[in-house]
């Protein structure tokens, strides 16, 4: 049974579920790798109840993926994805007159939503329409995207052990020494910040 054939809207949730199953079972008890073998799966069902990666959190899967000696796969992640029944699809098809370089983001979204989205004009490509749509959204709602396009200039002043960080948008923040980001601390912050 392939449930995603009948419910394409759930495809992303299946992927989330399967990636989450690769995480240590944090919601039930502390991980004990000796318990994860086939013979004891039935006895330890309570440990294996899948927990989903929360929407507001990022995560790194513990599985190690070698990339140096990688040969024969479309992507280094493919062996891992194979194990959980996921595939990585290249959506650029310039040879057949489809999306070409630069359109990858829009082509991916249009491919993912192809079952539900229909182009206004059947002759036009959905990925191009999505680009136009995104730009129109940015153009008509500039305040919502202005922050993404703002180049932040920071100036810092050191008083004793506290930095006063002033952004060009008026934002001011106090930071104890050592709390600055790694990049600023790594270089000479006085030079970077123009102080």
């Amino acid at each position: 049974m392939l449930p995603f054939n009948t419910e394409p809207a759930l495809e992303g949730d299946y992927i989330l579920l399967r990636f989450s199953s690769l995480l240590p079972q944090i919601s039930c008890c502390k991980r004990n790798t000796s318990q994860y073998n086939n013979s004891s799966i039935k006895e330890n069902q309570s440990l294996l109840m899948p927990s989903l990666i929360p929407g507001d959190s990022s995560a790194i899967l513990p599985v190690i993926i070698p990339t140096a000696n990688f040969r024969g796969w479309a992507s280094p992640t493919q062996p891992l994805l194979d194990m959980v029944g996921i595939e990585e699809v290249e959506c650029l098809t310039p040879s057949s007159g489809g999306p070409a370089a630069g359109q990858c983001q829009f082509a991916c979204i249009s491919t993912a939503l192809s079952d539900s989205l229909t182009s206004l004009d059947n002759n036009s490509r959905l990925d191009l329409e999505l680009r136009r749509l995104a730009l129109r959204i940015i153009e008509t709602n500039p305040t919502m995207y202005q922050d993404f396009l703002t180049t932040v200039r920071v100036s810092c002043v050191l008083f004793d052990n506290i930095y006063v960080v002033v952004h060009n948008n008026g934002f001011c923040k106090l930071l104890f020494q050592g709390w600055l980001s790694h990049e600023i601390e790594k270089s000479s912050w006085r030079t970077v910040c123009g102080y």
Binding site: L2, L17, P50, S57, V63, E87, S116
Partner: protein
Amino acid sequence: MDIKAYIAAMSNPACDGDAVTLQALCDALKITVRVTKLVEAQKYDEASQTERLLASSRSSSDFFHSIIEARDTSSLILDEDSCSFGSSDTCSSYASAMSRDSVENLEMRVSPTLSAQEKGARKRLYISHDIEPRCLGNVDSEIRRFASSSQGRLIWLSHVGDEAHYRLLRLKSAFDTMESSVFNRHEEIMASESRIQRILKLQASDQLVDLDFVEAIPMARSQTHVNIGVHRAQLGNRQCTLCLKSLFDDPVEIRGYFYFCNVQCCATWSKLRARKTPATTQQPVINLVDDTQASIKRKDEASSFQADAKPKDTSLTNDKSCTKHSPHRSEIFSRLRPRPSRPCSLTKTRHNLRKHKRLIRPVDR
């Protein structure tokens, strides 16, 4: 950076989309996107990540527990050959079916002999947080039409290499390496509930697009908040809000934009909403269930005694019976309104006004 200059540059189809366009797509289509990327293996710190995920998953696990309880109380019956939700003896979830040893030994299976240099090139898969849609101020009918078809979807992108190149992650169409039993009812339910959680989040921020606002053929409005047995022609290709099944016989409609395949789904949804809403607004949502049950009785009575009665007449009769068991409709409506709706724009305000008119009309009569 000047937005006009940015838009002019981004209009070129050869220009790669960036984080801004991705966010704009999420906002416009009301979709959620997650991005995966290979990162250095050393960045993985199990202890801190576990602590962080536990802290942020606390609320979501509460949500899932509430779902389990709600399903238990609504007596949802699953297929006999599938496991019951949460049972430990018959479930073979995907995680349990997959051998942990095989996952952890992936490195050895891919390349049995690794040099020190090759070990340095080891990576791990990073999964981003949800890139969620935001409430837009200015939207037109075309954007609403797109959003009505795509809202609530979760899309996975794979960020490839150091360039801004994306590939799409999707389920394999022919996935036969595992036993078919892994695609069991349990996984399907978990996936459905993951989607419900996301839709509830959208709903809480008042971002769901009302389909009727953009449809060319206006739907016939029901006289009550809960309407059972919606005419098939009105449904189109809608799916059940809870289980995403196609709507067949006796679908249930709530407030014109929630559709359920049966009363159980409707009751479960209402209980879930009751658990998600603040204590002060729980009662009216429970009244929805009462309304549903009252409507069932009404429908049975109408079908048995008034076989030829028109739907409008039936609903008018129902109004009287409904008022016996529940508060006045205007009172229900005042408490049933979507939670604090922030006026995003004039369009949104007009939209809300239309909804008000639709729902208030029966009371005025």
